[in-house]
């Protein structure tokens, strides 16, 4: 890490820390009273991102800023750690509950097929169509199409595992995949 990078990084971490602490303060106050802390928080964070991009270049600067904000925010969270007595246990159990589903083995198998091969196949179909036909340079088309495969697959996986129905997602995935493959073959 060069001296410039080190200075950019330290300044970025400092601004991110100021920004996240200001946002934390904004959340602890009432809406109106906290507004200026919100503005200060986001201003410090955006300045940190901009500073890193200017001093270390857009690519390295944005990557450094991404790491820095995570670090600063986790530190802010740890600073806000509250120890609770055991007696609040019963009153506080109000976390969101997942939906209860009928647990039939064949529905599990179908869900695995939907989240795995069908979502993956649909994502590959879309990726292929983009890789072949997107109005970009060759390397850009291929990398964009290739990048859409894991993104599309992950989105399909999240959707099919969350949707209580299984027929509709299955049909949509088959249609999307078939359309992608057909379009890429044109």
């Amino acid at each position: 890490m060069s001296t410039t990078d080190a200075i950019a990084f330290l300044a970025c971490v400092a601004l991110m820390a100021v920004g996240t602490m200001a946002l934390r303060r904004a959340l602890l106050q009432r809406r109106e009273a906290g507004r200026h802390w919100t503005v200060l928080g986001w201003a410090a964070i955006l300045t940190g991102i901009g500073l890193a991009a200017v001093l270390s270049g857009a690519e390295r600067g944005l990557a450094l800023a991404g790491v820095a904000i995570s670090l600063a925010a986790i530190a802010a969270v740890l600073l806000g750690f509250q120890r609770r007595p055991e007696r609040v246990r019963e009153r506080e159990v109000s976390a969101a509950e997942p939906s209860e589903r009928t647990s039939r083995w064949w529905r599990g198998v179908v869900r695995v097929l939907l989240a795995g091969p069908l979502s993956g196949g649909a994502a590959i179909g879309v990726g292929l169509a983009v890789a072949v036909h997107a109005p970009l340079g060759e390397a850009d088309r291929l990398v964009l199409g290739g990048s859409l495969v894991p993104l599309g697959w992950a989105a399909g996986m999240a959707w099919t595992l969350a949707d209580d129905r299984i027929v509709r997602p299955g049909l949509i995935l088959i249609a999307v995949g078939a359309a992608g493959f057909a379009f890429s073959a044109v």
Partner: protein, 496 residues
Amino acid sequence: MSRWPRISSGFVKAMLAGHSALGLAFAALLYLVCISGTIVVFKSEIRQWEQPGAPRVEGEVSDAALANAMREIDVYSKAQGPIHSLSVWAPELGGPWLRARFYADDGGYEQWFADPATGELVLREHAPLAGFLVHLHDDLHLPGPWGRWLVGLMGVAMLSLVISGLLSHPRIFRDAFSLRWGGSKRLQEADLHNRLSVWALPFHLVISFTGAFLGLSFLIVAILAFAAYDGDQAAAIEAVLGPQAGEGTPAADLPDMEAIIADARARGDGQAVRFVSLEHPGEEGQLVGVQIETPDDLVAAEEYFYDGTGTFLRTLGNAKGPAGQQTLSAMGPLHFGVFGGMPVKILYGFLGLASTVVAVGGVTIWLTRRADKGRPAPRWARVWTATVWGTGLGFAAAALGSVMLPVAPALVFAAALAGAFVLAIAFDAFALSRVLRGLTAAILVAAAGAKLAVHPVLPASAWGVTIALVAAALVLALSIRPVRRLVSLRSSVPAE
């Protein structure tokens, strides 16, 4: 700050169900990939810890030394059978050494340290612990492409968990800084899981996406080649990875490497050489690639290609080429945290630990939810405790074994992990966790002590590994004090 966005409780419940099912299905593998990836960030330092006597480079390596290292590994490799490629690694890319490597046609390889002044091969690399950890993260030690594909699938699953986790979190801003400890165990674990997930979101997204892409890249390229290049996989690879070596008879001499390196350096504004490769050495279709540093770019190097006669072909464009090419080339540095020196590696280490804690916490939340609903799962708690802390025990034992035993670290790791499962028969989850943490702490200290007994003089980076081992042991030892019971599984799982 308003609550974002207003989502129906039915939607949140459905998302949580999917998030929970996916997380539980891949929990152990995700944990293994996350924790091994966290350690692998420091693979160069671990290599230095394993071979502290390897010749280190002080200053810049001359073109003549780089070229001679290539000639030396060529001569050495010819006695080993048909060779696929040769490469020379300059310092800073993977460690402070000049290294030369050959890959055989059968997939085998050897790596040597070279004298930085002359390029002469002086010491064969022997870093079994680093190799074990890298393979565990890259392919889970599974054969062929299957392991890499499975790890790629883990990246897809992690990306999917990020999406479903965000969508099942309607109080994402309101709870942005809440970390309530004590009281409800489930709320405590959920707070930790959610805060580390949300605030390390850029890291989780980058790691999971690049991991999925890198793991599945060959599969994706093969499918793209089939559809877009009429099955010509070489053409698809060439479109994104640059010129490829041609097949040919072994009739050609090696090109003049020193002249090629000098030419590439001149094209690269006189910057330092990072890496030199020679594909299909001595064949008519041989191809040279020279990477020259580009300090202001994320990928930090541009690659220049030359044919077997030393004629310049083209640059790859990973530093100054099309956006797609630059994006592709940036995936490795972003995934492995090698774009900002040691400070970024340390931060990647911390954020990798956050990912690991998130992976562990997901299962803990499930266990506490079951216990809260009157359906405790003490056996699953023991299995999960043995998996989590047994893996740590396995890493510690592999580190100690790499110093003291002539046994592959994978075997030592597997034996220690199996031992943890045997102990799970005798102890409940709470006691098992304490026993395994205590054992791990003791073995970590033993590994550090054994290394110092064998190599009293260590380079600074190897000292860093030794100190990290002792620090980890200290944290584990402190965590098993009675006062830490609050964070154990005991409160989540009633005694059997």
